[in-house]
């Protein structure tokens, strides 16, 4: 009997050769296959997770169609799909393909990246409030990237600077609580302090440059999809693709890392190494998303919250978070574009107005364990 620790049957395991068929546990589908040499392999798929992800995916597609059809020139939803593939009136094709589609893509990518980074950081810190936006990582990325945008004598591109800033902020926050642990509220408040410093640095940079440059950078510092530099979007797409694969590879250790360190060690997770990898992944995703849309950190809180309320607690809801983050971002930007038209509300303000009460609600309800 093979029983090394990493083969424990949480989601996949290799049974003994020619083992009799095993019934799937309740609530799971079991996919099993057997190679010609007789090696059997099986995979357990949680039904509820699949259902939740499918539901969120359908909602996301609906939101996207709505996003493409509404705006200063409203199109019928039935006209959107042909226009997307280049058929129909010239003007609607132009509106959909040239004006709305790039922005929609940016919204989906940034929302997904923020939410994935959020759920990774929460799991890592075992703290439900520890999303990159709250513990100051967004602000760090913004401060550095603004320095690059307004041309303060740095030659690095905004995404690279955002990465440097995010890494600095993460190092500061985690360094400041070294030994104190990341659970509990002190970690969060230390992160808020770090975020306040970087927020002040952003203001400092904006105050030093000419007023026109500062005004141009302003919407981006509160979070907006208006600017979205093209190369940053491409970089984010690549980064998110790689990040999703990495997150799936890390999914199993992640779900074990929700337990105490000792338990996770005992179950075969190299906690230190995995923790560093998860942190890096979260920081990179945040930085790339900030380089596109500015600090819309609330999505990193709301996305995982929605995902967690829908999915079961057996696994870390990675896919569900990704999808609901994109959904929230698309809907928030849609609201920002259309509610007060022709004035456009930056998406960062929309998410803050939604996310603030949500955060307060999380804080005020009777305390439970924060996992």
């Amino acid at each position: 009997m093979k029983s090394s620790a990493s083969d424990l049957p949480t989601s996949a395991y290799v049974p003994e050769r020619r083992s009799p068929p095993v019934a799937a546990p309740p609530g799971y589908w079991r996919i099993a296959w057997q190679s010609t040499r007789g090696n059997a392999c099986s995979l357990l798929i949680e039904r509820r997770g699949v259902a939740v992800s499918a539901g969120l995916g359908v909602a996301l597609v609906c939101a996207c169609i709505l996003y493409l059809s509404l705006g200063s020139m409203a199109l019928a939803p039935s006209a959107v799909l042909p226009a997307l593939f280049g058929r129909g009136e010239m003007i609607s094709v132009f509106t959909v393909q040239e004006l709305r589609l790039p922005r929609l893509v940016a919204a989906c990518l940034t929302g997904g990246a923020f939410a994935l980074a959020g759920v990774l950081m929460q799991t890592l810190a075992r703290n439900r409030l520890a999303t990159p936006g709250i513990i100051g990582i967004d602000n760090g990325a913004t401060a550095f990237a603004v320095a690059s945008v307004v041309g303060m004598g740095v030659s690095l591109a905004p995404p690279a600077m955002a990465l440097a800033g995010a890494a600095t902020a993460a190092a500061l926050t985690f360094g400041l609580v070294a030994g104190g642990g990341t659970q509990g509220y002190r970690f969060i408040v230390a992160g808020i302090g770090v975020g306040a410093v970087f927020g002040a640095v952003t203001q400092l940079i904006l105050a030093r440059v000419a007023i026109d440059t500062a005004n141009a950078a302003y919407p981006w510092t509160v979070g907006s999809l208006n600017a979205r530099p093209g190369d940053a979007v491409g970089l984010l797409a690549v980064g998110l693709g790689v990040g999703v694969i990495a997150a799936f590879v890390l999914a199993r250790p992640l779900s074990l890392m929700r337990f105490k360190d000792a338990t996770a060690y005992g179950l075969g997770v190299n906690v230190k190494a995995r923790r560093f990898q998860v942190l890096m992944l979260s920081v990179v995703l945040t930085a790339l998303a900030v380089a596109v849309a500015g600090p819309v950190g609330m999505v990193g809180l709301i996305g995982p919250e929605i995902a967690r309320s829908l999915a079961s607690s057996r696994q870390v809801p990675l896919v569900a978070s990704l999808l609901s983050g994109a959904l929230v971002m698309v809907l928030a930007d849609l609201a920002g574009r259309t509610l007060l038209a022709p004035i456009e509300i930056p998406v960062g303000i929309v998410t803050a107005v939604i996310g603030g009460p949500w955060l307060l609600w999380i804080l005020m309800r009777p305390q439970r364990s924060h996992a």
Binding site: L176, Y185, V189, A196, V197, V201, I349, L363
Partner: protein, 333 residues
């Protein structure tokens, strides 16, 4: 534990001397072309009309406002910390300043012109913010955990801040009028503003004199305070009113300036020890010292333009916040 540098009378004298010196520097140094020597000549009685305008019409009111705002925010921070028994309670962090700013933005958007009604509206907003915060501390479990309260306050003020910027999107005129005000600055304030905020400051000062003693008793616990003949509920309401008056007036003039109410009582407690009455005395010179120094740096750091003062107080206050949070044992006051 009081720091043992001389006795407290010496410490107060030293702080007052420092305050006089910093006020002088604030009159002498600026972002414009009038240098310290010309300003000094004006103070000595020279007839240089340009320089005398700059010193008496621009820098003097600014210095005066800095002193008053510093005192108000420092004392308000100390009061709020005493009544919520929380060393992290700070008007800026807990959303009291944000409430005042939100109220002002609301009236501006609804068509009021600035200045005249700003102070009373800001005080009303601060009062509402204060009541929100303190009723939150009554929620089970939240009042006993200082850090959690700060977190709720941060969420609250973040929400109010984004609502404020949302309203400013509606209205370009209001946005232009308060864009610089909303991040906190002492620039361009006139003597009228000082006169306008004086009455409420005086009322608050008198009230503070009367509640200092019951507040010190309240530090022993509600029961002990009642046993000593005080009324905890009444004291709490008076403190809320005082904080609203002080923070509202300061915010109306200078915009929401965070972290002053955290750093100043922190320093004052380090010097004065646990007694709230002594702490309040120490806040009087330390608050203006911090605000004036931040303002002087804000003037010279990016000359010829200016920095919002809130940037500097955040740069100096956030590390203090982190230090307090990191302390192994978080003292409940």
């Amino acid at each position: 534990m009081p720091l043992s540098v001389g006795n407290q009378r010496t410490q107060i004298t030293l702080l007052l001397t420092a305050l006089v010196a910093v006020s002088l520097v604030s009159l002498l140094i600026g972002a414009g072309s009038v240098g310290p020597l010309r300003a000094l000549a004006v103070l000595g009685g020279s007839q240089d009309s340009d320089a005398s305008f700059v010193v008496w019409q621009l820098r003097a009111p600014r210095t005066l406002i800095g002193i008053i705002v510093g005192m108000a925010l420092g004392v308000a921070g100390a009061l709020l910390q005493a009544v919520s028994r929380n060393p992290l309670a700070e008007p800026g962090l807990l959303g009291v300043s944000a409430g005042a700013a939100f109220a002002v933005a609301l009236t501006l958007v609804m068509g009021a012109s600035a200045a005249t009604m700003r102070i009373s509206v800001a005080q009303l907003g601060a009062l509402l913010g204060c009541i929100c915060v303190l009723s939150v501390t009554r929620v089970r479990g939240l009042g006993s955990d200082p850090v959690r309260l700060v977190l709720a306050g941060a969420a609250f003020s973040g929400l109010l801040g984004s609502l404020t910027s949302l309203m400013l999107l509606f209205d370009q005129r209001a946005a232009d009028e308060i864009r610089f005000w909303v991040i906190g600055s002492l620039a361009g304030r006139r003597l009228d503003d000082v006169v306008a905020m004086l009455p409420s400051m005086l009322v608050a000062a008198v009230a503070v004199v009367f509640i200092a003693r019951p507040l010190a008793a309240l530090a022993l616990g509600e029961r002990a305070a009642s046993g000593l003949g005080h009324h905890p509920g009444l004291i709490r309401w008076l403190v809320v009113a005082c904080v609203a008056l002080l923070v509202g007036a300061a915010t109306a003039i200078a915009g929401p300036i965070a972290f002053v109410g955290l750093v100043v009582p922190f320093a004052a407690r380090a010097l004065a020890g646990p007694d709230i009455r002594r702490t309040l005395w120490f806040c009087l010179p330390i608050g203006p010292l911090m605000v004036l120094m931040a303002d002087i740096i804000a003037r010279v750091a990016v000359a010829p333009s200016e920095l919002p003062i809130g940037v500097l107080t955040a740069l100096c206050g956030a590390p203090v916040l982190v230090a307090v949070v990191r302390a192994r044992r978080l003292p409940t006051l």
